[in-house]
Symmetry: C2
Subunit: 493 residues, 2 copies
């Protein structure tokens, strides 16, 4: 297991992750994922593999969000993976920005080829090809059109957790891959007001998960007209500020008005006996939230997991000097693990036969919130030595097991709060008010990243287009906090 071995050889502090954030942020990001053993690129071009430690984080995010989604009165369902191309053709007529890069299924049988190996059987070509869902608006809309007949059938709120595929050539793990995991919600209402309220309500669900579970400060706001989802009346977003000063769009929630209900024919008979088109919303949150968590919290020693969603909240590491004392230390560790379990703390006892320093570094790189080391001395005195991952060695202390058990739940809460506060402070520090476009240009000349905030009307001026191109920036959102009067612009993932 790799560890910062050079530390002993020079006075300069070395880091577990190379390069550091400052040296090369994108490479640092990949190194953190590898060091934490969260994921890897797969041999299938554009696709990634979620390794157990990364998938466990996704499961914890899912559990929390699924509960909030159900509390909002939404029902989970599951729709087919394949979408007939004709469904998209209909959409393509309506939607200019329609994405055509997707995986297309054209055959349904393999056979032995002339050169050996297997080939798609020419006799098994499909009459109509399918695409693997790049999103399920059309296939869910088709069902909604059948399921909604009367005002009594509304609201109809559906969600599915599933895999999605969009053909991406330039990929980055969690952030942009051909296949990714997400939830997509599709709600239908009788009135425009209900749909608008719903789009904001689901955005609030996302805000809760980002801030309360992932400890990431969010900037809730509305997309400008240019940045809206094609076909949406209004698109809402949570913009997140990564440690390199670039924005990451955390999720989107769309008020689709009657645009989709008209193209998909979702209509209902009202109390007035007349037919009306429904008002719909859609809202999605993806596994890129894991990338956001890494780029918000991780440091040059590796990942830092927010306690609430951490696969393990505590790692227990036995430090055994001699074989004679091993059984006693191991028993003590395992008893501690069991006690933590009874109070609802997820603890991992690292009983592997790796060396203690390797276990310590593994725990650091994986970002386990609290590391506990137990040697013979701790056993003899009923104590343990603990270190908070976010505070590092300054937080190292030896306390009694009883004190630890009594204080670990509030300590985890406090670490969770500290991470969010740190993210909030950082985000705020990277937002700069600019009075006019000249000042905006000056800002982006001086800063490679961060947000410029200005009056929303400035982005309508022709000069803004030049700045947009010169610095590859985009309007990220009209923050709710500024009542839609101001806009944030910046570079983004």
């Amino acid at each position: 297991m790799a560890q910062p071995q050079k530390a002993a050889q020079s006075g300069k502090p070395k880091t577990a992750i190379t390069p550091t954030r400052e040296e090369n942020f994108p490479e640092w990001y990949q190194s953190v994922i590898k060091a934490a053993d969260m994921a890897e690129n797969s041999p299938v071009r554009g696709c990634m593999t979620f390794k157990p430690y990364g998938y466990a984080l996704w499961e914890n995010i899912q559990r929390s969000m699924d509960s909030l989604i159900k509390d909002a009165g939404v029902q989970n369902a599951y729709f087919p993976l394949l979408i007939p191309v004709s469904y998209l053709s209909k959409e393509a007529e309506h939607v200019e920005g329609f994405a055509k890069e997707c995986a297309i299924v054209t055959h349904h049988r393999l056979e032995k080829g002339p050169k050996g190996g297997l080939i798609p059987a020419p006799s098994a070509e499909l009459e109509e090809p399918f695409v693997i869902r790049p999103t399920s608006e059309t296939i869910i809309g088709e069902a909604m059109a059948r399921w909604v007949q009367s005002y009594r059938d509304l609201p109809l709120k559906l969600n599915q957790w599933c895999n999605i595929m969009r053909w991406e050539m330039r990929t980055r793990m969690f952030l942009r891959t051909a296949e990714f995991l997400w939830q997509e919600g599709h709600n239908a209402f009788a009135t425009a007001d209900e749909a608008q309220d719903d789009a904001l309500k689901m955005l609030e669900v996302y805000r809760s998960v980002y801030e309360n579970d992932l400890a990431i400060a969010t900037i809730p706001g509305e997309k400008t007209a240019d940045e809206r989802f094609p076909g949406a009346d209004r698109t809402f977003t949570l913009e997140l500020m990564m440690q390199d000063g670039k924005a990451l769009q955390g999720c989107t929630s769309h008020n689709l008005g009657q645009n989709f209900s008209k193209s998909l024919n979702i209509k209902y008979q009202g109390e007035d006996g007349q037919e009306h088109f429904a008002h719909t919303t859609s809202w999605g949150f993806t596994s890129r939230s894991i990338g956001a968590t890494i780029m918000t919290h991780a440091d040059d020693d590796g990942m830092i997991m927010p306690p609430r969603v951490a696969p393990y909240q505590v790692t227990i590491i036995p430090v055994v000097r001699d074989e004679a004392g091993k059984a006693g230390v191991f028993d003590y560790c395992d008893t501690l693990r069991a006690r933590l379990k009874t109070i609802g703390v997820r603890a991992h006892f690292d009983a592997s036969d790796a060396r203690a320093p390797d276990k310590m570094w593994a725990s650091i790189k994986k970002g386990v919130p609290v590391r506990v080391e137990i040697g013979q001395r701790e056993v003899d005195e009923g104590q343990l030595t603990m270190t908070r991952r976010d505070l590092g060695k300054d937080s190292k202390k030896t306390i009694s097991v009883d004190e630890f058990i009594g204080t670990i739940p509030p300590l985890l809460d406090s670490m969770q709060a500290d991470l969010l506060a740190r993210s909030r402070t950082f985000t705020d520090s990277r937002i700069h008010d600019v009075r006019d476009l000249a000042a905006m240009r000056d800002f982006f000349v001086a800063e490679t990243a961060g947000f410029a905030r200005c009056e929303a009307s400035l982005t309508a001026q022709p000069e803004f287009e030049k700045i947009r191109k010169d610095f590859s920036i985009t309007p990220r959102c009209l923050p709710f906090a500024d009542s839609g009067q101001k806009v944030l612009v910046g570079r983004s993932y």
Copy 2:
């Protein structure tokens, strides 16, 4: 909402589901699914849509099984949906029974076609096509071969919950569809004994879910050589007896020996310093378990949900005579719902504006374990009227709300136990011992279904092949209960 309206017109008892099980079992099955609003066939040929009520059952099954899988030391992960065709070519060389019917991705972009509409862009043909995973042995095996280097990396136990696609033309909802949902486990061990123990241990997880959660009696056993998974040393199964006397294979767990580790190159350096091939298992459980639940428990009035996995365990139906009393009855119902929630009972208050008899029939057809009706009289006297779905109107009684709250958890447990006992009795009643092949032939001449049990050696006789063909029967398993000495044969799904 459809209900047995003819009941009043004739003395003969009518059923909510037509046809009945006796009249036409396959059509009855489809009708139950429709009446319970669990699923529907989708416009995508061969694929089904899990509607919210059906998906909620799958979520409850998943939750229970996922917990048992994790308790067994297995970690969840997620591997790519697409598998390069070359991976399967390798398998195809080894495996005679390799399934070639699968969805093949050949292009990655749509473009406007000459006749309008969208077509796969000829310029975007993939150099190597992909198939949508029909199972993930090869892609997970590829990762395992990289992840396993030393005996210290073993055991490696991985599971994924995902969608799977096999091109099926003759489909039946939940039982056989092109796309389905499942979990697939892939474990690797240093020794043959560990792999064999693991295959049985995971079968036991499945047995627990079937018997304890789904209240379905199982017949655990081993597949005969002919019925083994291609490439497995040993295949274990749970055979289930449906109400029409046909067998349903509930799941399989395979001891793959070193067959897959050799073809996929999963090897490790042992403590002896030598390289060894790992011993692997794989084990899978699919959404067809929902079909099994329907065909085990449902009756001619619709679904019967086993309480432990029922989306709702109790439906509360207000019976309002006049508008004046409505608020009082609704409040009373909602208070009851809240009280049930606090004691962990999943209750649904049907506050829709449908008529009370329609709500009652909806609850029956959906198979909600306990139906509660509340009218003004119940409100005035602090009571409720309850009916158990499995026992029907004979179980109808009016009791105090306090008594109901106190007794509903054991009542649900008791209904769960009754359903399992009924399934066990039924299963046992459809197993007939036959002494020789002549008796077996006589049995299948007389009976259209059910199991014949005989000495395992009889299936090696040439006459057995004739019986197999004449009656479309197969050896289902060598039951553990008979120590592998006997075999069960019968028709199956």
